[in-house]
């Protein structure tokens, strides 16, 4: 079971990133727990500078841009 986190307040980019993650999880059939972190205090524990951030199993994969579905699927499959 993978733990996927999307860090970012409720802006459009972060919402798209979140939706892309859900889409990628569904397409790849990987079992994953997807959490969206919108609280700044919690976000800052991860040393975030630019949002959105994609983390898989506590490892930062993408920061400051929206990852696309294929990219996320690749992250999910290589681990």
């Amino acid at each position: 079971m993978k733990k996927i986190k999307i860090l970012g307040p409720g802006c459009r980019k972060c919402q798209i990133a979140y939706n892309n993650v859900l889409e990628a999880v569904e397409q790849s059939g990987v079992e994953a727990d997807v959490i969206k972190i919108e609280d700044f205090e919690e976000m800052m524990r991860y040393n975030v500078l630019a949002t959105p951030v994609l983390m898989i199993d506590e490892e930062e994969k993408v920061a400051g841009r929206v990852p696309n579905v294929n990219e996320i699927k690749e992250f999910l499959s290589t681990q």
Binding site: G10, C11, M44, V48, L49, A50, T51, V66
Partner: protein, 293 residues
């Protein structure tokens, strides 16, 4: 560079649609077609170039530069300059602020970055370039950086740290210089290109509708508002027209993409460029966040 766009617009409006060159509707449509094509090309180009710059100078690296280098008073200027080349997303501004201050960068320097970042963004620059030319664009970018430098310096002298929220203060208690080496992903330029292109396209398509609305309003005014109409009210060059433009701009719920094409027509119809720049900075800096965020 854009002669062909004018010729294309002329051909569509005057030859295909058979609208007279002197009629308001002909003028407006010609303006709309010419501006839309020109602006979209410039926008994509500039966003793309900024994307390349950002791939090589991501914000983590800029922060490390500000933290680790001795800059002898120039740190405000550098922070403002970095703010100009970093794309601004209003929802990143809180994490950015905390991340900078926690990394040991003084509040004032952080503000210099945060003031310039939305003012000088790739969309505003592309639109300015398309509508007012290179010189005006450089003046605009220069004033934005100057404003950030001075603003950051003044705010830095005001000792605002005690006004921070409690949890941010607690975070800063444990502040430490960020020395972790920035994780360099070993990707070649050509491996990065698809990503940069896709993002540039995402940004452009995100503001597309605002630009077309803006150019539409601009084109309508271009065709139907009489020459020198604004000169009577905002164009006299009196000193008070600039603060008046700023105050007028604050409640304008618009973004750069929609406002610049309208301002272009203001200038064509007699408003001085300086007043127009003041108006634009107030609109972008104090109103709606940029939509590409």
């Amino acid at each position: 560079m854009f002669d062909w766009t004018q010729q294309l617009a002329d051909w569509i409006v005057y030859t295909v649609l058979k609208l007279g060159a002197e009629t308001p509707v002909g003028n407006a449509l010609n303006f709309f077609i010419y501006d839309t094509i020109k602006i979209l090309i410039l926008l994509f180009l500039i966003v793309f170039i900024m994307g390349i710059v950002n791939a090589y100078f991501p914000v983590d690296r800029l922060r490390d530069f500000l933290t680790n280098k001795k800059l002898y008073g120039f740190e405000y200027f550098f922070a403002a300059l970095f703010g100009a080349i970093t794309p601004f997303c209003s929802c990143s501004s809180v994490p950015l602020f905390i991340g900078f201050v926690r990394g040991g960068i003084p509040l004032g320097v952080t503000f210099a970055f945060l003031i310039t970042s939305p003012l000088v963004n790739e969309i505003a620059l592309a639109l300015f370039l398309g509508m007012f030319g290179v010189k005006a664009t450089l003046i605009y970018a220069g004033s934005g950086i100057l404003l950030g430098t001075l603003g950051g310096f003044v705010l830095g002298k005001m000792n605002l740290a005690h006004l921070l929220t409690e949890w941010v203060k607690n975070l800063l208690q444990n502040a430490q210089k960020v020395s972790e080496e920035f994780e360099q992903k070993k990707l070649s330029f050509f491996q990065r290109l698809p990503n940069i292109t896709r993002e540039a396209w995402q940004i452009v398509s995100g503001v597309l509708v605002y630009i077309i609305i803006g150019i539409g309003i601009g084109a309508f005014m271009y065709g139907y508002v009489p020459e020198n109409f604004f000169e009577t009210y905002l164009g006299s060059g009196d000193w008070w027209t600039v603060p008046a433009a700023v105050i007028l701009a604050v409640p304008m719920y618009a973004n750069a993409a929609a406002i610049v094409p309208v301002i272009e027509v203001f200038v064509i119809k007699g408003v001085p460029l300086g007043t127009a720049i003041a108006f634009m900075m107030a609109t972008i800096g104090l109103s709606l966040p940029e939509p590409h965020c």
